[in-house]
């Protein structure tokens, strides 16, 4: 038995926050797949399987557009984003099928066209596929708009929807994790933090994965190599696009300007004082001390070399694990 709490958009609140102790069964594993709003959560990708489409709670968005555009209304901006979850109002609304939004009393929201079944939560989703042709399609191809004669045909529901809401899971080929997704999903586990956590659990009979997923633990004992290569790919890409050029520009500017200045000063000093040998000879004691200190620091950093090697090993092990997944 386990207990879970969720943030409004479905992210599970881990054990250890605001009194959610493992003694209250938070963070425990009970093998139950049903998570946020009772939908099945894929343990590998972290996505929720709503019968019509997958939902990423970390993003607060569906991973595919509204299959039938049933909720789209030109006068209602909240309905324009076909990936949005419950009109971005998860505190008041639910979407049991991934197709239509319902309020707490089970009434379909903004459903003047009758596309959503009026029965609310228990409605059959086959009705959704019969959206009337006057519903404005948001995702319509350019040629069909230009021709002006074509009536937009209702989009065929996905296979899972055709099963009349039976909750049939898409086939493995549709849900298979890519290698990169696998690497990102297991980045926390294949690290020193993950090893400490699993070692602790194995030796002392606990089940919590809180240490593996804790901010500080990951910051200190996390694996930066996997993180840079695969971790949070979408987020990293967005960050790189938005911040990368600025960081690079600032960094390059600083290095270049200071580098030139230092080089120039050194060159002038050396020319004026007789060159490198004289400069070194005049301050041999200081030079020895400096070299000795640099050697000391370099010797200490040999452990960095070992730490990097350990993390490379973790990355290789994770790669082997992900490559072996069917």
């Amino acid at each position: 038995m386990a207990r879970q709490d969720y943030l409004p958009f479905g992210e599970e609140i881990p054990a250890g926050y605001a009194g959610r102790s493992s003694s209250l069964l938070f963070g425990a594993s009970d093998g139950v797949e049903q998570k946020f709003t009772g939908q099945i959560r894929d343990s590998e990708t972290g996505m929720d399987f709503f019968p019509a489409r997958y939902y990423a709670s970390a993003l607060g968005r569906f991973m595919s557009p509204d299959p039938a555009n049933a909720g789209a209304d030109p006068t209602d901006p909240q309905s324009w984003n076909a990936y949005a979850y419950v009109r971005n109002n998860p505190l008041a609304l639910v979407d049991p099928m991934g197709l239509c939004t319902f309020d707490a009393e089970g009434n379909a929201v903004e459903d003047e066209n009758g596309a959503c079944y009026e029965g609310g939560f228990g409605g059959s989703v086959t009705v959704v596929a019969q959206a009337p042709p006057d519903v404005m399609p948001i995702f319509v191809s350019l040629p069909s708009l230009l021709s002006g004669t074509q009536q937009p045909a209702p989009t065929a529901p996905p296979p899972a929807v055709r099963e009349a809401g039976a909750g049939v899971r898409p086939t493995e080929t549709e849900t298979k994790q890519t290698f990169s997704q696998c690497m990102a999903a297991h980045a926390n586990g294949f690290s020193i933090a993950g090893t400490i956590n699993h070692g602790f659990n194995a030796i002392f009979g606990t089940t919590s994965l809180a240490f593996e997923n804790n901010f500080f633990a990951q910051a200190v004992f996390g694996n930066p190599i996997t993180t840079v290569l695969y971790g949070s790919a979408i987020d990293n890409a967005g960050t790189a696009l938005s911040l990368g050029p600025t960081f690079v520009q600032k960094g390059m500017g600083t290095v270049t300007s200071y580098g030139r200045r230092t080089t120039t000063i050194m060159a002038l000093n050396l020319v004026g004082k007789g060159g490198v040998p004289l400069a070194l000879g005049a301050s041999s004691a200081g030079t020895k001390v400096t070299i000795g200190r640099v050697a000391s620091v370099a010797g200490g950093f040999m452990s960095l070399e070992v730490s990097v090697a350990v993390n490379v090993g973790f990355t290789a092990a994770e790669a082997a694990y992900c490559a072996s997944q069917p």
Binding site: F215, V220, S232, R293, V297, S303
Partner: protein
């Protein structure tokens, strides 16, 4: 200058000390967790593990302290990733303010530099206490997270920074009074 076989064995030894350091964290924190009743194991076992782990840690400080620069070096890299991405490592939902990320990175880089510069020096009793303080912070972090103890971050961070400050003072005073002892 050392030859390749000596360097290889030195790296192997370093890997061993790294393993010992991580094992000490697990054993000591596991002992504490068991004593406090967070593990199904018998409490006397917890006391034994805690005592043995602490004793071995104190006895081998000069060994496992050599891996701290590497751990803090990796942590500095992680801090840079956190600083740039603005969220916890591999956890986009856990936002980290940039000043916090910057402070974390600076503290860890400083810790790495200070421990590296002391790596080849004789370990005094002051150093020993500071290194054990660092180990204690890691142990406290693991115990608090596993046992779901709240609000542990600030005391542990203060303890960590205090331990690093002691090492920094030791290095500063040593250089000021006696010069480098490499």
């Amino acid at each position: 200058m050392r030859n390749r076989s000596q360097q290889g064995s030195s790296r192997l030894a370093m890997a061993g000390w790294l393993f010992l350091f991580l094992l000490l964290i697990v054993v000591i924190s596991g002992g504490i967790a068991t004593v406090l009743g967070y593990s199904p194991r018998p409490r006397p076992l917890g006391w034994v593990l805690f005592t043995v782990g602490t004793g071995v840690a104190a006895f081998t400080v000069d060994r496992w302290a050599k891996v701290l620069p590497g751990i803090f070096g990796i942590t500095t890299l992680n801090g840079l990733i956190i600083l740039i991405s603005g969220h916890a490592l591999n956890q986009p939902a856990t936002k980290v303010p940039r000043p916090v990320g910057a402070l974390f990175t600076v503290v860890m880089a400083s810790a790495s530099f200070i421990t590296a510069s002391l790596a080849d020096r004789h370990v005094t009793n002051t150093d020993r206490a500071a290194y054990l303080g660092i180990l204690a912070c890691f142990v406290a972090m693991l115990v608090c997270v596993i046992a779901s103890v709240g609000h542990w971050e600030v005391p542990v961070c203060i303890g960590f920074i205090a331990s690093i400050a002691v090492l920094w003072a030791r290095r500063f005073l040593s250089v000021g009074n006696h010069g480098a002892q490499t």
